[in-house]
Assembly symmetry: C2
Homo-oligomer: 203 residues x 2
């Protein structure tokens, strides 16, 4: 299964989600590839690598740019840059499904409408993953309720809360599972992996 992480809004947790989902799949035994389509190469840096090859996580490889050969892997994750560009278009063609990491804010809703128009093939849309959720802010709960109402069955139950350990892990070149496997961020990404796997089976 080839899964793309797409959102033209910047800094919403695309790379954090791609890295930790790919790590969760590798940890449960799947041969997994994380393709870093972002010229900033943040997904590779997040795993402490600067070019294609194996990572320190068993069964998880990283490749910079589009993968040449996906046949060797059971699951492939495409981390996209924040733009509706030809590159993102190609990732949408290549993937079996795509996920939209989204920070629950009003301005984010505008971008989502553009993104779904750009993706014009809604059949592959797996859904929305809520990221960097700040449960203290009043607007957060209003927006999540709006999203669940507007896109029933598309918003994952798992909500990834704001958790500083997630960005600390990236600074140390690790997935959240090696950096701090007992923190809420690790539990939430493990839970998200189960939910993604289940949703892929159903569709």
């Amino acid at each position: 299964m080839i899964l793309a992480l797409i959102n033209n809004k910047g800094g919403v947790g695309k790379t954090t989600t791609a890295v930790n989902l790919a790590a969760a799949y590798a940890r449960s035994g799947y041969r997994t590839l994380l393709a870093d389509l972002d010229p900033q190469a943040s997904a590779s840096l997040h795993l402490g690598r600067r070019e294609s090859g194996p990572t320190h996580i068993p069964r998880l490889d990283v490749c910079c740019g589009f993968p040449q050969n996906t046949g060797d892997y059971e699951h492939v994750f495409l981390d996209c840059p924040p733009a509706l560009s030809p590159l993102t278009h190609r990732a949408l063609e290549l993937c079996d499904r795509f996920l939209v990491p989204l920070q629950p804010q009003y301005l984010a809703m505008e971008g989502l409408a553009n993104l779904l128009r750009f993706a014009h093939n809604p059949g592959r849309w797996l859904g929305i993953v809520l990221t960097m959720v700040d449960s203290r802010a009043r607007v957060t709960h209003e927006i999540i309720a709006l999203l669940r109402q507007r896109f029933p069955d598309k918003v994952f139950q798992t909500e990834i809360k704001n958790n500083i350990r997630l960005s600390e892990a990236a600074s140390f070149g690790q997935s959240i599972f090696e950096y701090d496997g007992r923190c809420p961020g690790a539990k939430l990404y493990a839970q998200l992996k189960e939910e993604v796997e289940q949703k892929c089976r159903v569709l």
Copy 2:
């Protein structure tokens, strides 16, 4: 003076800084233009507009895309999308100076080196504005110290702390000054405007 806000890393506070700096300049009496170069149009949305024209803030206009005529304005702010693209290149040619809003994280340092190579005319670089500073995180202070040592005189003294009111203001189509003029976010952006103005005079 034409000032561009540039960083290829997404979600680091480019738009938030462009909007609140432009509003601070307009509030102190300057005829100001905020040019929204991002196809996502978040700067215009942040001020409740969907096309070029005056905003509800006296002396502040918004334009979508590159400004045709900057002669009518004393200060122009260019809000750029998160990419080192031809559009960003053009903004770098057009501006008198550019500012790099930066979230103090390890991965952010990598992107900065690329950005400065891309900008290849460092004379116009006004400096780094630290944004979304989370003073609870240990890595934050380490990184700020590294940046101040590595780029002496380039990192602004004003550090914009994490403050949920800044993102709430955006949801309501207002600058921080109308939304909550007494919160830390408003004081910090007012202080930043003074520091930017002073630095522009010196160079």
